[in-house]
Amino acid sequence: MNDAVVAPTIEYGTLAPMLLVFGAAVVGVLVEAFAPRYLRKSIHVPLTLLSLAGAFALVILQVVKGAVPTAPVAMGAVAVDGPSLFIWGVILVLSFVCVLMINDEGHFVASAAAVPGSADEEEAEAAGGSHTEVYPLVLFAVGGMLLFPASHDLLTMFVGLEVMSLPLYLLCGLARRRRLLSQEASMKYFLLGAFSSAFFLYGTAMIYGYAGTVSFTGINKALATGSLLDPILLLGLSLLGVGLLFKIGAAPFQAWKPDVYQGAPTPITALMASGTLVAAVGALLRVFWVALGNMDWDWRPVMWAVAALTMVVGAILAITQTDIKRMLAYSSIAHAGFLLIGVMATFDKTAQNSKSLSAILFYLLVYSLATVGAFAVVTMVRDPGGEAGHLSRWAGLGKRAPILAGIFAFFLLAFAGIPLTSGFFGKYAVFAAALASGSEAGDSLGGWMTGLVVVGVIASAIAAFFYVRVIVLMFFSEPAADGPSIAVPSTGTVAVIAISLLVTVGVGLFPQPMLDLANQAASGLFIR
């Protein structure tokens, strides 16, 4: 009888960063259960920050040791390759700075269960209650973000997706101010997110039906020999695509972004706008390049339309926004479109392919750091009722707080891709990759790639309009008499803004070190 169960081989060392984050999350839950209320925050904060820093150190250690595995680990479930490690590093840095922002008082509701505006709520606020569960929830979300782009089969990816999303649904509803808006955001995000997860899962089933496996290597092999016009495959491809494009907020699946970004507590918005986007783009790349790379003739034309639509929709709708967070949400949609340009730049030659991968990784790094910085500034501009979200409240900020307004203007210029900011080089890198891909002999889209870049350029010009509009408001308008106050920033917020600004300026002047890092990470491409 051969019924002995073979224990799976798990490469604990390689997976250590992820395991550390998940472990700390579990410990966080135990702290919630056993530690007295007054002690919880002082345990959570160092625990969360240290585990994130530790995970980051472990990532660095792996890179420095050169111990990047060349095959999927954990029985083929997780691929810890160069891009994964780079994305992990970025996500860990982003989540670290976001936790610094979360730390600030006043972002989260005192008692989530209390009806908004009720006596219960007042009581909870008066008692100084707070939901320290925020910390383990964030850790779980970050763990999911690490697993999502690194998974090497569709089921693991689904698990990563859910572990990332579920805590975020909850966190979105915990804003202290404008709670109904926050709860509405949470509900919308949950419902739409659940739909998209279902799409993803259904797509997984279809692909399994076609390939007989959920492993990316297996799907890739099946595609290399099988018929590419099998309806079940095409259906699976499109369903998977919907699930993933929803997460990065590409049009026509972008509708949730403005509502959720506006309603969620700003530190959580920052985490979603940076960390989730990075993770989702990583996952998208892995599915489309690794598993479905052999059928790029099928998905690239569709992706062309999605990318063009996303850029244009994001840029045009942003113009009409009157709320700063909604505007940043639409800006994030437009940037998702720019990233899709990079996703489409695939080549036959590995060397070229790794160039466009490096462009995307670089873009993710610079965009997400500028985003976190911008949201950190948003948390500091306050009305008596909370953050001053309405754009008209920002009028004349340049006179009240010239330094803060100047920093915010700089982030906006980086989003607009003005030279001598990091954003310019990000945009340049993906545009260059796309044009090079289009000029490659035998590229199925050829001149269409140039067309996409032109669409991207026009979208950038439109986008520049609304970034510039905020600068006009801040610097060229007279301040209102009862304008918002500028919160005295905590050390954490100062650190967040300083780090983002430093990267945005530094990379804007000398991008080479960061490019080297991205090149190195992308040199081996994804493990197939």
């Binding site: 030279p419 260059a432 080479q512």
Partner: protein
């Protein structure tokens, strides 16, 4: 490797940082430091100009450092004759503009105590000015096309803040319009820059290495279009000129001088260097439509200028007419027309600069840019009226003043150009000559309405130019008259570069043939 150009760019940047970091309340010191820095830059520029060898290699004072090896981008600088004179133009104009803007950010009150402009941050204004100077030098000095693009776009930002924060009533509208027009053109150019890099496949953006790299005519045409639209918006050429009157009218007089005098020259400079030399076949194919656009600009700008009621808008429209001449000269592709065009870029900077500043001084005394608000100023302030007249005459290219030489060269060069062997260019030259008459109308009528006639009640209290204002205008007038009689030093520097350009464009150049026959 010559350190001169990097030093020229570093000095104003350091100056800007110092000015920005000065403690609160040291406005006067900030102005003095800014002026000092700009004078240092002027002296350094003159040192460079003196060392420039007119018979030497095309690009001199070259310095090339690795910047972004991953993209093949180098920090490459070097000047040819045309770049040198334009850098010199910038270096001359900046200290003048600083002096002219001495009180622009202080807030001004008219005689009856009403606030004309509110007090604004002096330090910011002057440090922006220095940053802009560094970028102006950089954009002309860049021999790496990517670096050129970076300066081309980045220099919009300081100008945007100078218009938007320190300009007139419609300033934010004007600033946004300026930025968006330029940015859109710049982004199209970015696509062309990347495509140039990809198609050439040389893994470099260095201009000298890319000359002749693109051979395919269709590719040339597309890339040419990308560069040309950006430069046409910048120059500006009809029909993408509409941002200039708004921006120039709303900008403070000093910023308007730099905007029209230097920033817009980047457009015509770019056409001459990049559009022509990188894409010679496309340039030749598009010559006729572009010359037509240029002629329309010349005539349209002049006619619309006549109808203006606002002095700054009027001067802006005259500039559109003048830029038409420059573009026509560039694309007529003869030695004389292109040398004339390059000379025009410099002379126009001095002439329009003087006119803007004189008008600015007039406007500062009354707080209104409307011509109808003035009359008979000459009797009250003879000095101001005199400078205004000379600057105006330079604007209409009176013989003996510098702009006459360049306008004449452009027209003669276009008329006699053999590059296309047809009479079409001659027709363009003849039509453009109409603008000479129109110019007399728009300038003299403005002078007549403001300076002559019965003295208006509102101007009786005007004070004549003070020492600072005389120091601002006198050097410009001296340059206008000096180069009007003796343009040779400028032409000696410009001519070899134009010859080289025509060689790269592969146009038959009778000037070279004659020289060859004479030797």
């Amino acid at each position: 490797m010559s350190p001169w150009l990097p030093i020229l760019m570093a000095v104003p940047v350091l100056g800007a940082i110092v000015v920005a970091l000065l403690p609160k309340g040291s406005d006067k010191l900030a102005k003095q430091v800014t002026l000092l820095v700009s004078l240092v830059v002027l002296v350094l520029t003159l040192v460079v100009a003196v060392q420039f060898k007119t018979g030497g290699p095309r690009f001199q004072f070259q310095a090339v450092y690795d910047w972004i090896p991953s993209f093949g981008v180098k920090f490459g600088v070097g000047v040819d004759g045309i770049a040198l004179v334009l850098i010199a133009l910038s270096a001359v104009l900046v200290p003048i503009v600083i002096l002219a803007s001495w009180h622009d950010a202080d807030g001004t009150q008219s005689a009856d105590g009403t606030l004309i402009t509110p007090k604004r941050s002096v330090k910011t204004y002057f440090s922006l000015l220095l940053v802009l100077e560094a970028m102006m030098i950089g954009v002309f000095a860049a021999t790496d096309i990517f670096l050129f693009y970076v300066f081309f776009e980045a220099m919009l930002i300081p100008m945007y803040f100078m218009i938007g924060s320190y300009g007139g009533a419609q300033r934010s509208y004007a600033a946004v319009k300026f930025l968006l027009y330029s940015l859109f053109g710049g982004l199209l150019m970015l696509v062309a820059v990347i495509a140039l890099y990809v198609v050439a496949g040389k893994n470099t953006f260095m201009f000298p290495e890319l000359v002749g790299a693109i051979q395919d005519p269709a590719t040339q045409k597309w890339l040419f279009a990308g560069f040309f639209i950006a430069f046409a918006i910048k120059a500006p050429l009809w029909p993408v000129h509409t941002w200039l009157p708004d921006a120039a009218a709303q900008a403070p007089a000093g910023a308007a001088v730099l905007l029209v005098g230097v920033l817009d020259k980047v457009g015509t400079f770019g056409m001459l260097r990049f559009c022509l030399e990188l894409f010679p076949d496309a340039a030749k194919a598009f010559t006729m439509p572009i010359v037509v656009l240029a002629v329309i600009s010349i005539i349209y700008g002049a006619i619309v200028a006549i109808g203006q009621t606002d002095m700054k808008r009027l001067i802006a429209y005259t500039s559109i007419s003048h830029f038409g001449f420059i573009v026509m000269g560039v694309f007529a592709m003869s030695q004389v027309s292109q040398s004339g065009a390059a000379l025009y870029m410099v002379n126009h900077g001095f002439a329009t600069g003087a006119l803007f500043l004189a008008a600015g001084f007039l406007i500062a005394r009354r707080g209104s840019p409307h011509i109808a608000d003035y009359g008979g100023v000459q009797k009250v302030t003879p000095l101001l009226a005199g400078f205004f007249l000379i600057a105006g005459l330079a604007g209409l290219s009176l013989p003996g003043l510098s702009s006459f030489v360049s306008e004449f060269m452009v027209m003669i060069g276009t008329y006699t150009s053999t590059a296309f062997g047809s009479g079409a260019l001659a027709v363009a030259a003849i039509v453009s000559a109409l603008a000479v008459i129109l110019a007399a109308v728009y300038i003299l009528w403005m002078v007549q309405r403001t300076m002559n006639g019965p003295t208006a009640e509102s101007v009786k209290a005007f004070k004549d130019l003070n020492v600072r204002e005389i120091v601002v205008l006198a050097p410009l007038v001296a340059l206008i008259i000096g180069f009007g009689f003796f343009p040779k030093p400028l032409l000696d520097v410009i001519n070899p570069t134009v010859t080289q350009t025509l060689v790269n464009v592969k146009v038959d150049n009778p000037a070279i043939a004659e020289k060859g026959a004479g030797q």
